[in-house]
């Protein structure tokens, strides 16, 4: 069900729009409360992999089966990126792969084929909404709602956190960035699609009051 829609339409079907709408459809893609820029992301590929990741052999086999991936899987609570694929290790049983939307079908099929039941690979691109926070106040904005240590020494690139923000389950990580963008902090948030607008509303309200001055969540001071 995940092949590219436009490639396979028959003449009759072209009468239909088959218009994909993201969870933030109709919402301005960026907004800037004080000190933080909130960017809503469009369609990205997400594959959920369920497997017994505590089994080293299984984890190794899985790493080898994933197109574009090389090296070991990230540790629990960690992330890794390779050739456009970012892996988020949620727990002992689940791994999220973030990739180009058009590559999800091939990726899913490759993992499923090599495991034959020992791993479950499900395309869940439509199930997640993604946001990015840019700017010096990003850590602080998160700290307004989540009991998570946002100090750079406690949470930095390569790690992920699963938190509640405005009563929404959110996965937090630092996306790989091109070096040209690296001077500004960027945090990516993933949440269930149905809660995207709730989360965005929470972020805008919390950010709208302004982040506290003096970078209180201990931004590195220069």
């Amino acid at each position: 069900m995940s092949e590219r829609i436009e490639d396979v339409l028959s003449e009759v079907e072209r009468a239909y729009s088959a218009e994909a709408r993201g969870p933030f459809a109709g919402v301005a893609p960026q907004s800037e409360p004080h000190g933080v820029r909130i960017e809503t992301l469009g369609h990205r590929g997400v594959v959920l992999i369920a497997a017994d990741l505590s089994d080293a052999d299984a984890a190794h086999k899985l790493a080898e089966a994933m197109p574009g991936w090389s090296g070991p899987l990230p540790e629990l609570g960690a992330t890794g990126s390779h050739q456009g694929v970012t892996l988020l290790r949620l727990d002992d049983k689940r791994l999220l792969a973030l990739l180009n939307y058009t590559e999800t079908a091939a990726f899913t099929a490759a993992v499923a084929a090599s495991f034959e039941g020992a791993a479950l690979a499900e395309p869940v691109s439509d199930g997640y909404a993604m946001l990015r926070l840019h700017g010096d106040g990003a850590r602080e904005l998160i700290a307004k709602g989540a009991a998570v240590d946002m100090h750079p020494a406690a949470f930095s690139a390569g790690e992920l956190r699963r938190i509640k923000l405005g009563a929404v389950d959110v996965i937090l990580h630092f996306p790989p960035v091109a070096s040209a963008q690296a001077d500004s902090e960027m945090i990516e948030l993933l949440c269930p699609r149905s809660l995207a607008i709730s989360l965005l509303g929470w972020l805008r309200r919390a950010g709208g009051r302004g982040v506290a001055p003096n970078a209180i969540v201990a931004q590195p001071k220069t």
């Binding site: 239909y16 049983k93 439509d126 199930g127 269930p192 809660l195 709730s198 201990a218």
Partner: protein, 987 residues
């Protein structure tokens, strides 16, 4: 107008020089009870008012006596105002802790009473010496400040993690933070007031070779530079006893929210909240103009304000001399320095004598006397020698317009008490102080008290105590403490305070009715002595006996206990208060009350939206809650010749009829969807479904009931077999089970895996006689009866979108479910309504779905009777009125979900002619409605299969307690041909 009291004295009390915190180049306009006044940037509201000579604040709560600004700190009992700026309003804030900002509006909370001249009427008898015993029982208390509005106001939270939390930004707190940071710890230093440095700044001490202000500047700058330190002003610690961390309430001066609640998870807490100066108990010690000596020095040193033109000083310790010296140096006339000690041996006393100040050693102030000026400000004091016998010699009247008092110092340790700490008596310092051992806090931290909060008696002691606490915090964290030592201070000769708790008075006021111990509670020595006659032998018992909702404030507690000990002939040391009920603090008490109110407000839940929600709303649907989802309940249309809107009942009836006889579509995005895969998946599903799942052919589904391990029904679910070892299970949210957790637990340890894919897929249900006709317009797939039999599924493209079509109609009749990727759901839905327009396709709300389900003999959403439905000894049956002509006994409540019915009330069924106690019930009603298809009321019930026969008449007890005759019938009210549902009722 309260303001009227001030007009005659509204001249400047601001000195030409001085004021470490104010910027005289930056005037700030503010308002008091609507009147415009000016202050300077850096002022507090209290200092700005005092600069205008406005010492009077409001009449006292019980006696209506005039009261003025009394302190410069957080425990201020009198100067309590409602504060408003463009961000909003804070109620009952101490003026002493309110930073002045442009446009700030301050309102005396009980200004109307002052307007009516209330305080003068009420005060008159007391000032005439009448007894007011027993007033606490007869005078209604002033209503509490609007705590609810504040607690639920513009709240913002911040979660913060630190190794060490230092509470209090005086020299001890600064030293503790410095030592901890130097040892490599992450530190948060919070100060309740608007500046760092505490007493040292106001007193202008020297620290080492530096002036205190310079030392403070240097140390704070160093902390600000340190990457591992964070500092906050106007941030008050209000609780250390929550499991989630210390609570700090910040009231940012601006910008930002009015209040920000910090949840600080620290591993070590250093409490360095300082100490508070105590009053002395003499007659009329509550008049405006009477102020703690240290506060008077603060107003002078920090804000360049003289509290009076001619100031008398009365102290039982060296603070009196320090205050006199500072006042005289600033050019304020000192009327007298009164000290009950006959010959104090201290450097300060000597210095004061050298300056030629009028010292009255071995004397006391027996009474303060109000002037005739408006506002009741003090006009003179009666000073009398204190004889060795304890009696007073001949008093003489000394004119003054302010009186600085000091009865010694008490540590501010309410937070220590809240955390379960106990205090001990320090005979030398004449004070209770916290026991020195660190105590454990519920969030995994340990708490140590430092500085004058721990009983330090001098600046030097406070510095080294703070440094020591910082180092021991570092050590407790496993860090190696930095090698730091406290600055060397010049030793100064001091003399100990002497215990003078109740000051003797002239006979006409010796009854203690005007010797005030606690101004916030209007508590007098006389009342305390009366209370002491009962069995009051502790701080907590005293609080109870006085009918106080909170412990006495730190400012008055020691004095109150001293009066109690004196009256009972007890040893003061034996009354050492402990715990939350004993160790008090006005500020902490108030904040805690706010917190309790806030905790009672409903927990926030986020709302889920379907990809189609915007369409429903644009269509004018009445939206409501379906679990966590915002869902359409029904879609009212214009009807009738006048174009009026349908009411809910009309809309639901129309929708149900479309679903039976035409075609209707329902957005079922809220269904949960889980994949189960692996060799053990089939067996596992057999164990949790009431029906066998593993025998399903690939591509087939069944509608069944999920069971708990005990065999209780949990919720209805659809199981579909998509591959040899792959199943998909869909179910609505259920109050009885968290499905994500349910499946994760079921596959644990089995050769199976589960994945929650609910959010990725949306389900659109189409139903009704014309539903196939419509579906054929959307897909090229063959959906005929032959190609797609009931409970069969197929992969297909619907409206050009990849989809799965399933022949499912849980509400009966012909129906299909179209499962599409969530991002395409709106597109499919829109196309469906475009091609179905000529067929009259109708959107269905949740209310119509409930009715359709009940007609089909399926409990309405959420009303499954967990643990009973269709299992064990109970069976699901239908109910009909015995006499259909009777008014329908059941129906309307659940029908539209908006009746008066209380869902918590169980509607029991009883055998005809039998007992009608709940123990004798043979069953109960689960759902009911008025059926548009049948034109009558129907209900579903679970009944004891052993005790009820089909066709039998039972009695239903309705909510009013009446019994009505009902007949047991088969639950399938609407005759349908889709046989796949039979598994549901096969038991």
């Amino acid at each position: 107008m309260a303001a009227l009291f001030f007009k005659s004295e509204d001249v400047s009390y601001r000195l030409g020089t001085g004021g470490a915190l104010i910027d005289r180049d930056k005037p700030v306009a503010f308002f008091l009870n609507g009147e415009s006044l000016m202050g300077f940037q850096g002022d507090t509201l209290a200092s700005a008012l005092l600069a205008h000579g406005r010492i009077f604040c409001a009449p006292s709560v019980r006696y209506g006596r005039p009261r003025g600004i009394y302190t410069s700190c957080i425990e201020e009992p009198n100067a309590i105002f409602d504060i408003e700026d463009k961000r909003g309003r804070l109620s009952a804030r101490p003026a002493t802790m309110t930073p002045l900002r442009p446009g700030l509006k301050a309102w005396a909370p009980n200004a109307p009473a002052a307007n009516a001249g209330g305080f003068r009427r009420a005060a008159a008898p007391l000032l005439d010496g009448a007894s007011f015993g027993g007033l606490r029982q007869t005078v209604a208390p002033t209503p509490a400040p609007d705590a609810t509005a504040e607690a639920l106001g513009a709240e913002e939270e911040l979660n913060f993690f630190a190794d060490v939390l230092v509470i209090g930004g005086g020299v001890a707190g600064i030293s503790a933070a410095k030592a901890a940071v130097a040892s490599g710890a992450r530190v948060l230093l919070v100060e309740a007031g608007g500046y760092f440095g505490g007493r040292a700044l106001g007193d202008g001490d020297k620290i080492g070779r530096l002036h205190a202000a310079t030392w403070i500047d240097k140390e704070i700058s160093a902390l600000r530079e340190a990457p591992e330190a964070a500092l906050r002003l106007n941030a008050e610690a209000i609780s250390l006893t929550g499991a989630e961390g210390a609570l700090i309430l910040e009231r940012p001066a601006s910008p930002g929210p009015l209040r920000r609640l910090w949840r600080v998870k620290a591993r070590r807490v250093v409490l360095a909240t300082g100490a508070i100066e105590r009053p002395l108990a003499f007659a009329n010690n509550d008049l405006p103009g009477v102020m703690t000596a240290s506060a008077m020095r603060d107003y002078l040193g920090l804000y360049g304000v003289e509290v009076g033109r001619r100031v008398a000083i009365f102290a039982n310790n060296d603070d009196g001399y320090l205050t006199a010296i500072r006042l005289a140096e600033a050019g304020v006339e000192v009327a007298a320095v009164v000290d009950p000690r006959p010959d104090p041996q201290s450097a300060l006393a000597e210095h004061a004598a050298e300056m030629g100040l009028p010292l009255r050693k071995g004397s006391v102030v027996g009474r303060a006397v109000a002037s005739r000026a408006p506002g009741g400000r003090i006009g003179s004091v009666e000073i009398a020698p204190l004889r060795a016998s304890g009696r007073l010699g001949g008093a003489e009247n000394t004119a003054c317009d302010a009186l600085a008092i000091s009865g010694g110092w008490s540590p501010l340790s309410a937070l220590f008490g809240e955390a379960g700490g106990a205090s001990v008596w320090d005979e030398e310092a004449l004070t209770f102080k916290p026991e020195p051992e660190a105590i454990d806090l519920p969030f995994g931290a340990s708490l140590e008290v430092a500085g004058s909060a721990a009983g330090a008696q001098s600046l030097g002691e406070a510095l080294s105590s703070g440094l020591g606490a910082g180092k021991s915090a570092a050590k407790a964290l496993g860090l190696s403490p930095a090698r730091l030592s406290a600055p060397k201070l010049e030793a100064q000769k001091t003399d100990a305070a002497t215990a003078h708790w109740i000051i003797p008075s002239a006979p006409d006021c010796a009854d203690g009715e005007r010797h005030f111990v606690d101004l916030a509670e209007d508590l007098t020595v006389a009342e305390l002595e009366r209370t002491a006659r009962g069995s009051v032998d502790s701080a907590a018992a005293l609080r109870k006996a006085l009918g106080l909702s909170r412990p006495l404030g730190a400012i008055s507690q020691t004095l109150a206990l001293a009066v109690l000990a004196d009256a009972r002939g007890a040893d003061l040391a034996d009354l050492a208060p402990s715990g939350a009920a004993g160790l008090g603090g006005a500020a902490v008490s108030q904040s805690r009350a706010l917190l309790e109110t806030a905790a009672k407000s409903a927990a926030f839940t986020a709302e889920r939206l379907s990809p189609i929600t915007a369409w429903h709303e644009a269509r004018g649907a009445q939206m409501g809650k379906l679990g966590a989802w915002r869902a359409p309940l029904h879609y009212p249309r214009q009807s009738g010749p006048e174009g009026e809107m349908e009411d809910a009942e009309e809309a639901v009836i129309r929708e149900v009829r479309s679903a039976r006889h035409g075609v209707a579509a329902y957005d079922a995005t809220h269904l949960n969807r889980h994949v189960l895969a692996g060799p053990a998946a089939g067996d596992l599903l057999d164990a949790v479904f009431a029906e066998p799942v593993s025998v399903l052919p690939i591509g087939r589904s069944l509608v069944g009931l999920l069971r708990s391990e005990k065999g209780e029904g949990l919720c209805e679910a659809v199981a579909s077999r998509l591959g040899e070892c792959r199943f998909e299970i869909t179910a609505a949210d259920s109050a009885h089970v968290d499905l994500g957790g349910f499946w994760a637990e079921k596959v644990s340890g089995r050769d199976a895996l589960s994945a929650d894919i609910s959010e990725s897929w949306s389900t659109i249900a189409v139903m009704g006689a014309k539903s196939r006709l419509m579906l054929e317009r959307l897909t090229e797939a063959d959906v005929s009866e032959e190609a797609l039999a009931p409970v069969q599924g197929m992969e297909a493209r619907v409206a050009a979108c990849p989809a799965r079509i399933m022949r499912l109609a849980p509400a009966g009749g012909l129906g299909f479910e179209i499962v599409v990727p969530s991002s395409l759901a709106l597109s499919v839905w829109e196309d469906l309504f475009a091609v179905g327009e000529t067929l009259g396709v109708t959107p269905l709300g949740a209310a119509a779905i409930d009715v359709l389900r009940i007609e089909r003999g399926r409990p309405a959403g959420g009303a499954e009777a967990a643990g009973t439905t269709g299992l064990g000894d109970t069976v699901l049956v239908g109910l009909e009125p015995q006499d259909p002509e009777e008014t329908p006994p059941v129906g309307a409540e659940l029908f539209l979900g908006d009746g008066d019915s209380d869902p918590a009330i169980i509607r029991w069924l009883f055998s005809a002619g039998g007992e009608t106690g709940e123990d004798s019930a043979v069953g109960s009603v689960t759902s009911s409605c008025w059926s548009p298809t049948l034109g009558r009321a129907i209900a579903l019930a679970t009944v004891d299969r052993e005790r009820v026969e089909p066709g039998e008449t039972v009695h239903l007890r309705d909510q009013a307690g009446r019994l009505e005759r009902m007949r047991i019938v088969a639950p399938q009210f609407v005759d349908l041909t889709e046989q796949h549902l039979d598994g549901w009722r096969s038991h």
